[in-house]
């Protein structure tokens, strides 16, 4: 591992070579280029471990600098030893037996590492990771290793803090009970992964290293990879600490009670960041204090909301506001100070101990570090990153390239996690003090390049980050606009890479990817639907009535929850539990479960499918009252304002645990409180059915996209969004229910795991997600299926991923992930891929998904058939995902923005940043504009109207509105736009004639002229909708509909249609006109001879003569026959092969007929006919056509007679007449004078000049060519290199021809004359 990096950093191997090497090993597209650097060949066994090692290396190197935001470890397998089935439980098993046991393992070092029980949790950070594990609404059960740890903490490395830590953890870990009765005040937070174990393994390794130095095998990568898992577990969010357990108190106590044994060595170990990702002792991971405030330079004087640590949800927020805050904060600050004191003292102590530093590649802990960490005030001094101060550029570039390639090749488990990390680097805040001091010497001496500190200062970090960002530009440019803005304005990027800065700026300016929260659907009950809800659906009256009652109870519960759940002290189980269970009992009594499950599911979809219901961290639900007051128009503004106040402070990292938010909590809690097996079963059935239905539905509904489908496309996107979000919601609840029985608080031990796996391997999965997944890949609608499968799987229990079935599912997902390299291609649009990658990346980080998965699974196992042959426009290839949907599905992507925003907030003041001060002004009047309220009221009225009507009415109205709106647009396109385009065509033609102007400019001008008229579209559109909408509604609704209802329905349909159509038109009409005009213009340009269409085209499109029966031979036939004649004339001929004169005469006659009937004629045919006939004439003139005259033998005797009667003259005459009369296009007669054709004449032994002369005269006579034209043709012929005698004859011929015409002699003797003169010439020669 390290060896590879070593080679890279010493510049012995290029980054690209390493990438190739990696690709060969792990990429699915292996064998493309197999040129592997020789130095890497020997290391080929290490490929698999390299990526985790690299990631770890980067984290470790930067650990000291990174104080902003949560740590961002990715999940990597704990060690190679785990590759074969070693799991967390095993590790724990290892604990139990102690490290001795582990020694005998094959991979002793690693095992020992993982089984060690020492804990760095000394650091408050670690403690916090533990505490974070408990949180009410967190789904994944936190699993503390506490018991085993206690039992095994051996004195040798049994730091007291370990005990303390685990104790604390155990005290607050969520038990099954807590899971079942979630604490409403506890917010959903990211809990620490595998708690104690994490820190244990990390520091344990150090200890082992110290102890087992003699084993001398901990040199490099093997052990390195372990630290990954360690770090990763620490990735917990800053947890919210509820008032009921103040864990840090314990912590503090323990610190005092258990002073570290062998402090020197212990702290030495500690001093290196212990290969954990976040060594910051007093960092963001603090449970109670506001850790961020120590590190980000956020002024302490912010609103409580703003200061609240990440991981806060609204309830928590409220809870704190409600009074917990002060006490918590107060006591914790106190504690924190205490701890800091200790920390510092220890650090000082440690600094003086020499051993650790030399042994370990890790960053030495410096006093300054502690200082910077501890003093909020100081952190204000953000170091100004300076490109000039970057050291070891070359290595950083190599690393950046390698790292970027890993990201680009999907070799990292989560792309966005890496991006987050990079942004953390970008926004890292070193203290200015750091600049000056150089601890470089410590590492400088080391010959080990990979151990050198490359990221020791902010400048290097930023340099590296900017490099990576540059490589990842394409992904970044697809992020939402706000993020782009922050990046574009980032001063560090600007100073480190002006080109990237410029690119980002342009991307920001051209971006349309504004992401805003949609208006949450107002909570409404599911209306009564006769098909399913009326009496006939129930076995008895009693059941029917009981169900009615249950319905009422359910809504009562819901209302109560809505009103009260945010209040402090309100406990779901306590208040509602019994009511729910009573209701369930009734259900069981009457077997109404299926009805209720359906209602439950419908209500769930209705309430939660909106992005807010499903969202997690992208923002909290705005107060409904505020919304009512402001109206939806101002919502986004409000949202942005709110974000600016709140968001930067709550950075939780890009990988939150799955959690239920908003209304979803009600449904989850309801299920838990009800605890009804029957109900759950029915609900599962119902969810499965609905999921299957939705998963298939969109495919059928997916429409073609012909030229005029812009609007349909929009609708399609919307429909897709709705279906996708619904699917995700349903799948989440399905996953919750399916895995609920198996949920454990802790990781099962190995034995337990094995037996559980053996047991559960026998059961059938409720929903065959594997099949669906495969299908989706095959049918290319993965973009719909994968997101919901991810939701489903995010709720797996700890054992499920080890089951054969789910293992396959994960393998397949992993394979898809690897294959889905980001690029814009036909198969799948960029954002579609990005969404899939984002959700998959998130899934791989979900706590219950085993970390071994990503790096150890052999991707090539399962054959993935990407069926590329289908040319179907499958869902995957349609750009259905936009940033809005991406961020709705993956709210954690917003973390990137928050991180950047927090940097601005922190650095702005000092660096003259970009924060626009928000100056609150009193609202002009709290009452919003009347129109807004009115509109809102109108909308509510409409809702109410529909609610009381049968659902078919609503469907009808919506359908009519949709169709009429769409038709309206089509109508406008066909009428108004078409008219405008026609006018544009005329205008363009005029202008084109004028000058050869710049086409683009011309187009622009003409379009600008038309835009004004385009405004008419709205007027016409409105008229159209007004006319058509009501008509359609009237026809479609039952005759019995009351007049008032009908009227309202008509009005609503019309309004909706108008809104839809005019909305689209006003946004797109200009673009549409431009597009159409441009297309027309391009067509105009393509057609050659454009300016002449009036004359030429008309001439060509001549009609057949009156009464034409279209019985003439086909042009193709004639061409074919003439071709045959030419063939024979040109030769080679068979013996005695001749052309029948009569037949040829007849052919020319048919030619004439064909040319006259225009029906089957096309320009190419006619052109070819013209050309062929000229060739034929040339061949005739040069007497090359072997004619058989049938009855009349050629009369060679009398020359005069021959001139008059020779069949050739007849044929030539016929041709002349055809050219003159029948062709609709100019005949290329000048071909006759081409060198080739004249050469035919020249080749003839006895030259037949009279035929040629006859032809010339004929041309003039038939007015086919002018005399001067012929003259010039003849003249140019003389230029060519002919035999001298021929030249003379030619000279003579032209003289004769010219004199003939100049003298205007009678036509009787010129022929004679010519013959005479020619004769003399021949004689002379």
């Amino acid at each position: 591992m390290a060896a590879v990096l070593e080679l890279l950093l010493r510049e012995e191997v290029a980054a690209s070579a390493v990438v190739r090497w990696l690709r060969q090993g792990s990429g699915p597209r292996a064998a493309e280029e197999n040129h592997i650097h020789e130095k890497l060949v020997s290391l080929s066994l290490l490929q698999k471990d390299f990526v985790p090692f690299l990631l770890n290396f980067l984290r470790e190197q930067t650990s000291q600098i990174l104080t902003n935001g949560p740590s961002t470890p990715a999940k990597t397998p704990n060690s190679k030893a785990h590759g074969n089935q070693r799991t967390g439980s095993e590790r724990r098993a290892g604990h139990a037996t102690g490290s001795n046991n582990s020694r005998v393992q094959l991979f002793s070092e690693r095992t020992s590492v993982t089984s060690c029980t020492t804990d760095t949790s000394f650091s408050p950070a670690a403690a916090s990771s533990g505490s974070s594990s408990f949180s009410g609404s967190n789904l994944s059960s936190p699993c503390s290793d506490f018991p085993s740890m206690v039992s095994t903490s051996s004195p040798s490395f049994g730091y007291s803090p370990v005990l303390n830590h685990s104790e604390k953890r155990s005290s607050q870990k969520a038990s099954l009970g807590s899971f079942l009765t979630p604490m409403p005040e506890a917010p959903p937070v990211r809990r620490g992964r595998r708690k104690g174990n994490s820190s244990v393994s990390a520091s344990g390794r150090q200890v082992v290293r110290d102890l087992g130095r003699s084993l001398a095998e901990d040199e490099d990568g093997k052990s390195e990879s372990t630290s990954w898992s360690a770090g990763r577990r620490k990735q917990s969010e800053v947890p919210l600490v509820s008032a009921r357990s103040p864990p840090s108190q314990l912590n503090l106590n323990n610190l005092e009670e258990f002073p570290p044994m062998g402090a020197a060595s212990g702290w030495t170990n500690k001093s290196k960041p212990s290969r954990r990702i976040n060594p910051t002792p007093v960092s963001a991971e603090r449970p109670l204090s506001k850790p961020k405030m120590c590190f980000t330079s956020t002024p302490v004087s912010q609103s409580p909301a703003a200061r609240f640590p990440s991981g806060t949800s609204l309830e928590a927020f409220t809870a704190i506001q409600e009074g917990n805050l002060t006490s918590v904060v107060g006591s914790n600050l106190q504690e924190e100070r205490e701890m800091l004191k200790k920390e510092r003292c220890k650090l000082l102590h440690q600094a003086s101990s020499p051993a650790g530093l030399s042994l370990d590649p890790g960053t030495p802990m410096k006093p300054s570090y502690a200082r910077s960490a501890s003093l909020p005030a100081e952190s204000h001094l953000v170091t100004c990153a300076d490109p000039a101060k970057v050291s070891c550029k070359k290595q950083l570039e190599c690393l950046a390239q390698l790292y970027s390639s890993c990201i680009a090749e999907n070799l990292v488990p989560n792309i966005f996690l890496e991006l987050f990390f990079v942004l953390q680097l970008l926004t890292s805040k070193g203290t200015s003090a750091e600049d000056g001091e150089s601890d470089l010497e410590v590492n400088e001496g080391s010959e080990d390049a990979s151990r050198k500190q490359h990221f020791r200062n902010v400048h290097n970090c930023v340099y590296f980050a900017v490099q990576v960002l540059d490589y990842q530009y394409e992904i970044i440019s697809h992020l939402e606009k706000g993020t782009l803005k922050l990046l574009a304005e980032n001063e560090r990027i600007a100073s480190f890479s002006p080109t990237l800065h410029e690119k980002l700026r342009q991307a920001y300016e051209s971006s349309t990817a504004k992401v805003s929260l949609l208006l949450p659907c107002s909570v409404q009950s599911v209306s009564f639907q006769p098909e399913t809800d009326n009496r006939s659906n129930f076995p008895s009256d009693r059941a029917f009535h009981i169900f009615k009652k249950q319905r009422d109870i359910f809504y009562e519960l819901l209302r109560e929850w809505e009103d009260n759940h945010e209040k402090t002290g309100w406990d779901f189980e306590r208040v509602l539990g019994n009511k729910i269970r009573a209701m369930m009992a009734h259900l069981s009594a009457t077997c109404n479960h299926s009805h209720f499950a359906r209602l439950f599911q419908k209500q769930l979809i209705q309430m939660c499918k909106g992005p807010i219901g499903g969202g997690t961290s992208w923002g909290d639900t705005p107060d409904q009252d505020v919304l009512n007051m402001l109206g939806s128009d101002n919502l986004s503004r409000l949202k942005r304002l709110q974000e600016r106040f709140v968001v930067p402070q709550s950075i939780r990292g890009p990988c939150p645990s799955p959690s239920f938010t908003g209304c979803q909590q009600f449904f989850r809690d309801f299920i838990l409180s009800a605890g009804s097996y029957q109900f759950n079963q029915h609900l599962v059935d119902s969810l499965c059915l609905k999921i299957l239905e939705l998963d298939g539905l969109t495919l059928i509904e997916h429409e073609h996209s012909d030229g005029e489908a812009d609007m349909d496309e929009q609708d399609e996107k919307k429909r897709f969004t709705v279906v996708l979000l619904s699917l995700r919601l349903l799948a989440k609840f399905l996953g919750f229910l399916v895995f609920l029985p198996y949920r454990t608080v802790e990781q099962p031990t190995r034995d337990l795991l094995e037996s559980a796996v053996a047991l559960r391997n026998r059961t059938q999965p409720v929903l065959d997600v594997l099949k669906l997944l495969r299908q989706s890949v095959r049918d290319r609608h993965a973009i719909l299926t994968i997101p919901w499968i991810v939701e489903f799987l995010s709720l797996v229990d700890h054992i499920a991923p080890f089951l054969d079935y789910y293992r396959k599912v994960f393998c397949l997902l992993l394979q898809i992930y690897r294959l889905m390299v980001l690029s814009e291609d036909k198969e799948m649009s960029f954002l579609n891929k990005l969404l899939i990658l984002a959700v998959l990346g998130w899934l791989f980080q979900v706590p219950s998904v085993p970390e071994e998965l990503f790096f150890t699974t052999d991707v090539r196992k399962e054959g993935l058939m990407m069926d590329t042959v289908t040319s179907t426009r499958a869902l995957d290839s349609v750009p259905l995902v936009d940033q809005q949907l991406l961020y709705t599905c993956c709210p954690y992507l917003g973390e990137l923005r928050k991180l950047l925003a927090s940097f601005v907030a922190g650095s702005g003041a000092k660096n003259g940043g970009f924060v626009r001060k928000i100056t609150p002004t009193a609202a002009e009047s709290l009452a919003p504009k009347p129109s807004v309220t009115q509109r809102k009221l109108q909308a509510e009225l409409e809702q109410a109207f529909f609610h009381n009507q049968p659902p078919s009415l609503r469907r009808t109205v919506e359908f009519v509105a949709e169709r009429v709106g769409s038709n309206c647009v089509k109508h406008i396109k066909a009428t108004l736009v078409a008219e405008l385009v026609q006018r544009a065509e005329v205008m363009l033609q005029d202008k084109m004639k004028e000058e050869d102007a710049n086409h683009d400019k011309l187009l622009e001008e003409v379009c600008a002229h038309l835009y004004e008229e385009g405004a008419q579209a709205l007027v016409r559109g409105r008229e159209f909708c007004k006319k058509k909408g009501p008509e359609a509604v009237r026809v479609l609704l039952p005759d019995e509909t009351s007049a008032a209802v009908l009227n309202s329905a008509e009005e609503i349909a019309m309004e909706l249609a108008t809104e839809k159509a005019c909305g689209w038109l006003s946004a797109n009409i200009a673009a549409l006109i431009k597009r159409e005009v441009k297309a027309t213009f391009n067509r105009m340009l393509k057609v050659p001879g454009l300016p002449l269409p009036s004359e030429d085209a008309l001439e060509l499109r001549r009609d057949c003569p009156p009464g034409c029966q279209h019985h003439a031979p086909f042009p193709s036939q004639i061409i074919n026959e003439i071709k045959d004649v030419l063939c024979i004339a040109v030769g080679p001929r068979d013996e005695g092969e001749v052309i029948d004169y009569v037949w040829l005469e007849c052919l020319l006659g048919r030619l004439s007929q064909t040319l006259r009937c225009r029906k089957f004629m096309c320009p190419t045919s006619e052109q070819q006919l013209a050309k062929c006939t000229v060739e034929l004439a040339s061949l005739l003139v040069s007497d090359r056509v072997p004619l058989r005259l049938g009855l009349k033998p050629p009369e060679k005797s009398s020359e005069r007679l021959r001139v008059k009667n020779s069949p050739t003259y007849c044929l030539l005459k016929q041709l002349l007449s055809v050219w003159k009369e029948d062709f609709g296009m100019p005949v290329p007669l000048q071909l006759m004078f081409s060198r080739k054709n004249i050469a035919y004449v020249a080749e003839v032994k006895q030259r037949e000049w009279d035929l040629f002369l006859f032809m010339l005269r004929g041309l003039v006579e038939y007015d086919l060519m002018g005399i001067s034209e012929i003259e010039s043709c003849l003249h140019s012929l003389k230029e060519l290199p002919w035999p001298s005698d021929f030249l003379k004859e030619l000279e003579m011929l032209s003289r004769v021809f010219i004199s003939e015409h100049n003298l205007e002699e009678p036509r009787t003797n010129p022929c004679e004359l010519a013959r005479q003169s020619l004769g003399t010439v021949t004689a002379q020669s």
């Binding site: 040319s871 179907t872 193709s1116 036939q1117 071709k1123 024979i1128 190419t1164 045919s1165 080739k1236």
Partner: protein
Amino acid sequence: MKLSKAQYDEIAQFLGQVQPTRQSLRKLKQKFPSQSQSTLLSIFSQEYQKQVKRTHAKHHTAEAVETYYQRYLNGVMKNAAAPVLLELANEVNFAPSLMARIVLERFLQEQEQAIPSKTLINSMLRDPSQIPDGVLANQVYQCTVNDCCYGPLVDCIKHAIGHEHEVLLREMLLEKNLSFIAEDQLRAKGYDKTPDFILEVPVAVEGHIIHWIESKASFGDESSHQAYLQDQFWSYWNRQDTKDTKDCTRYKNGRYKNGIEDELYGGIQRRR
């Protein structure tokens, strides 16, 4: 015209190794007097094209080109009037037009010291008068005129046939009162690949639903039919929002389908 698979195979077999010349065609006509000239020509052309596709590469190696060119030069040196190029083509079993192209290209290359543009060569082949060398012009013209499978003349004939049959088809559709959208309309709507006609209202013929009709002026043998579908129509087929779309490609010269002939619109073949 109907043509059974067996008949087709017989013709194809006969065409095994003949030159694409008038003489061959005449022999073909004598052998299969019951088939129309255009059918035979069409099959001939297609079969020959297959053959050329197989051997194309070997005639274009640098050595081959050089040999041909030298042989041509020697030939015309001896007798400029003899059909040097045509005989050369026949001798090496290559289409005369293509041979003419090779030699012309080589000739121009020598003259201009640069690789001539495709457009220039095409234009010279279309009108050999433009060729600066008189002898070569004659030779080339002889080749293109005599070639009954390749060359500008043949191309033009094919194009003409295509056009004519489209007109015929349109006529028939109008006669049968079938509403359709024609190719130019489709193109105006922005379709990239278009069949000749899309029926606005599909019709059923012999139990099959016909959605679109494509008139092909060539003989519809199995492989070319497949290729057409691949290149042109599957994409279209998929854009039709119907699951049971059937296509109908109409071949001028008849096509077989496992020896069973389907007739559509007065003797013109259809598929499926």
